[in-house]
Amino acid sequence: MTITLYDYTLSGSCYKVRLLLRFLGLAYERQQIDFFPGRQHKSLEFLEINPLGQLPALRDGTLMLRDAQAILCHLANTYDTSGQWLPRDERFGEVMMWVMFAGGELMNSSAARLHDALGYKLDIEAARANAHAALRVLEDHMTGREIAGRKWIVGGAPTIADIACFPYIALSGDGGIGHEDYPALRNWMRDFRRLDGFHAMPGVAEFV
């Protein structure tokens, strides 16, 4: 089966999917969509792929999926025989909770970045305040994890919760949201960047 990712290099949401594809060692084709300035994700052709007009989208054989979080779940569910990335035991609910957080509250960081980098019209102060509130929630969680001697958001190994949360925390500076107040998140991001198979994107440093 051929996997095709409808992709935009500068998108943190597309980056989530690229990260998991690489961690799983899956070959895939990239269909580059001109998100900016072309707005190709709102074109008639792309709306047939994803009627919501959002990136990423993923075609896996005959299956067409949208939403980075749903795509992470699909890829882990289908191709991760180890079960590490989406555990099916007592960790499942907590992993999904943080995956939803990444697609929900944390997207305020993405909104701030779209405002600052691409000139989107939105309430930037509200976006930054809400992004800081989201980062604080994960900072509190990761502080507890550090005290318990743990590195990852759930359990003893990285999961799709870590992948889903990483991009818009790492890229938050692009939206004027610094990492000064988040020592536990800084440590977690550094550990994430040291994972085998990790690769960077523009705005995320390759060197650790």
Binding site: D140, A148, G149, E180, D181, N187, V208
Partner: protein
């Protein structure tokens, strides 16, 4: 506002500064890089590469050198630039030197002083042994509000202020627990708290204290919103 220049301020927990890491810190509006080599103590520098002004907190560590993310210039622990990758045969001149601030680690807390030339001695806040890191957290509020809230806060057992310093408060909580809280002025209305405990020997006790401090933060910020 009214913040003394020559004062030692806690800016982080020693255990939370990973080996081979560089971290952004703001003290009274000054941007600092708090970094550690693969070994050795934490250093505090101006968050600015002498070459092109890039933040050194974005940098990366190799051995005992901090390298700027922009062009890879490498700085030794004393600040001296020791390598310029684009000019491998050049010995960097002595004038290329990162600006460093005094840095000390005591009670498990990393302290710095914005006075570089003649810093006052690090204040003595009692015996150094037995302190365990609890957490750092940042609060929207003035130093006066944060201090008052700490003194009035219900830590779960009767608490008593044992020592008050310009930028630190020591509390006794119940009969067994002692807290030391270092205060970092980030801006007029933003304060970092770096908290260590004595008598909190298990991770469970420290985790419980860390959660209690979230509640303190919420109390301070809720009182702010009411105003």
């Amino acid at each position: 506002m009214g913040i003394e220049h020559n004062q030692w301020r806690g800016i982080g927990l020693d255990r939370q500064v990973q080996p081979a890491s560089s971290n952004p810190v703001i003290v009274n509006g000054e941007m600092l890089a708090m970094w550690r080599g693969e070994n050795g103590p934490v250093r505090v520098w101006e968050d600015r590469c002498p070459h092109r002004g890039m933040r050194l907190s974005f940098g990366f560590v190799r051995g005992d050198s901090l390298r700027c993310i922009y062009h890879g210039w490498a700085y030794r622990t004393d600040g001296q630039c020791v390598e310029i990758p684009a000019h491998p045969d050049l010995t960097p001149p002595k004038t290329i030197c990162a600006a460093s601030y005094p840095a000390e680690t005591r009670y498990g807390i990393v302290w710095t002083n914005l006075e570089r030339a003649a810093p006052s001695p690090l204040p003595d806040l009692g015996p150094e042994d037995g302190w365990e890191p609890v957490r750092s957290l940042y609060v929207n509020g003035s130093a006066a509000q944060v201090e008052a809230a700490i003194e009035a806060f219900d830590f779960g057992a009767p608490s008593m202020v044992r020592l008050k310093h310009a930028n630190a408060i020591a509390l006794g909580i119940g009969v067994e627990l002692e807290l030391l809280i270092a205060l970092q002025p980030v801006a007029d209305n933003r304060i970092g708290l770096h908290v260590v405990a004595r008598g909190a020997s298990t991770p469970e006790t420290r985790a419980s204290l860390a959660r209690r401090l979230q509640r303190l933060r919420t109390e301070i910020e809720m009182a702010q919103e009411k105003k």
